[in-house]
């Protein structure tokens, strides 16, 4: 099983024959090329075209994040898996308004299903807030039911926005004061929770993109988000389903277990960022989460959370090929 490789330090990637090294003043490290699925670069990275062509040939994308931990872009190897038929069908599902709405709605439905699972899971042992959380959950469910009548994607997006807002309000009930979201802010994230959400979301986006690269799906044709919104907008669509499963659960753990002590954040309220130590802790949890396995009944085998993303993409492929209607993943465990 290939693994993701995270580079937090500044340094140089060097290729010497068919070995890639990461080098800086602290030392030299070999990148085991056959064992890497993607590279996540958080530091300042220099590399030659020789490295790029080699990684490209091996089908390994590099995702770049800036100083603040925001996603900046990817070195996406040239496509080798192209199915003309699938791409045409994928586009057809975008162009046909009814079909597009169906898929857009399914992504929200999946995200929402997982959001509800999270809320109920974390409120289970908290008698003091249970009632409040349940009332948020009911409001979310009723928002979700509006989706059925939606006639255009923008109105679906509004529904999604309302669901998120309710969700964040509900989370504020659960989290200790230090970690209240209050209002979702992005660039810059204004407080700790916003920082954690932003950092995690860009990770999920990148992981999903890497998985898309390994399928025949075209990453630029999307349904909920407009294809011109960002370059790889299909990744945004599919990420919606996995954000509550991966990011939010990691955050719950980090906060509940008080794993983010001093030095994990830097900056101030209004412009809060993860420090290198904070990033390290988050990335470690993220990597472990992706490797965690659960039993998949259809396949009758254990699959990792990361693999679930791939399976979701297979489901989408089958949907556009007309073989099986897409139903989004909602945590069954």
């Amino acid at each position: 099983m290939r693994e993701d490789f995270y580079i937090l330090q500044d340094g140089i990637l060097k290729r010497k024959e068919n070995t890639v090294y990461f080098e800086n003043k602290e030392g030299r490290k070999i990148l085991p090329i056959n064992k890497i699925s993607s590279i996540f670069a958080y530091g300042n990275l220099s590399f030659s075209s020789g490295v790029v062509s080699y990684l490209s040939k091996e089908g390994i994308p590099i995702h770049f994040f800036n100083y603040y931990g925001f996603y900046e872009g990817s070195m996406y190897p040239r496509e080798t898996l192209i199915s003309g038929d699938l791409v045409i069908q994928q586009a057809e599902h975008y162009l046909n308004p009814e079909r597009r709405l169906y898929l857009a709605g399914k992504f929200i439905e999946g995200a929402c299903g997982n959001i509800l699972r999270n809320l109920r899971y974390y409120a289970r042992n908290r008698e003091d807030i249970q009632e409040a959380i349940e009332s948020y959950a009911t409001s979310i469910e009723s928002e979700l039911s509006c989706l059925e009548g939606a006639k255009a994607v923008p109105s679906m997006m509004r529904t999604e926005g309302k669901i998120r807002e309710l969700y964040y309000n509900a989370l504020d009930e659960i989290f200790p004061e230090e970690y209240r979201i209050i209002k979702r802010t992005r660039r810059p994230p204004e407080n700790k929770m916003n920082t954690l959400i932003s950092f995690g979301n860009s990770l999920v986006y990148s992981t999903t993109l890497s998985e898309i690269y390994n399928t025949q799906l075209n990453p630029t044709i999307s349904y909920l988000h407009e294809p011109f919104e960002r370059r790889f907008s299909l990744s945004l669509d599919v990420s919606e389903i996995f954000k509550p499963i991966l990011v939010d659960r990691i955050i719950f753990k980090l906060v509940n277990k008080n794993m983010l002590g001093g030095n994990c954040f830097r900056g101030e309220i209004g412009n809060m960022l993860l420090s290198e130590k904070g990033k390290k802790i988050f990335l470690k949890e993220y990597d472990e989460k992706l490797k965690t396995t659960i039993k998949h009944k259809g396949l009758n085998q254990s699959v990792s959370y990361k693999r679930l993303i791939r399976l979701e993409l297979y489901k989408l492929s089958k949907h556009v090929l007309g073989a099986e209607e897409y139903k989004p993943l909602v945590m069954w465990w």
Binding site: L81, D85, I88, G298, R310, L311, Y314, K318, W332
Partner: protein, 199 residues
Amino acid sequence: MSDETTKEKEKSFDGSLSEPERSIHAEVFLGSVRITGVKVNYYHVCETKLWLFSHNISLEKESDNVAIGKMLHEDRYKKNSKNITIDGISIDFVKTGKKLEIHEVKKSKKIDVADRAQLLFYLYFLKKKGIDAVGVLNYPLLNKTEKIELTPEDEAITEKDIKNIKNIVLGSMPPPERKRICSKCAYKEFCFCGDRDRV
């Protein structure tokens, strides 16, 4: 290589009498579905696999079984010239002697109808080109070979196979069915990813 046009006899996939739904590329593909040995093999294994493979939805890249097969092939028969390609038909290796020998290497541990059909297809293809050959299936893991010759019956079966393959490829994706071989198939996750009980 084929000159037939729209008047191909259609086979119904779900057993009903209605015309099968055609893929949107059917008109472009029609009469030009390229038949290869692997497709003939897959046709005997699973129609869904044949369809997906033919539509370039390939998952073999990640399959350990495929990787082992490739290594075995490269390692075991180093001396022989490999992968002869004639008109897009790729043959593992050939030996020349009294009669041309077409070799196909299989990693499987049992001799299989699909392997046989694949080799018969090569022989049929060569015969159409005026080349008389015999086939040999190599099973290095069994230390066994099997010689295969093309009989008139085999020829008729191969022709029928080719027609069926075209029909399947031109149709819409055959829904996956659970079979015994699924557990070893590179497409397993693709086929059964959504198929699970919900809580």
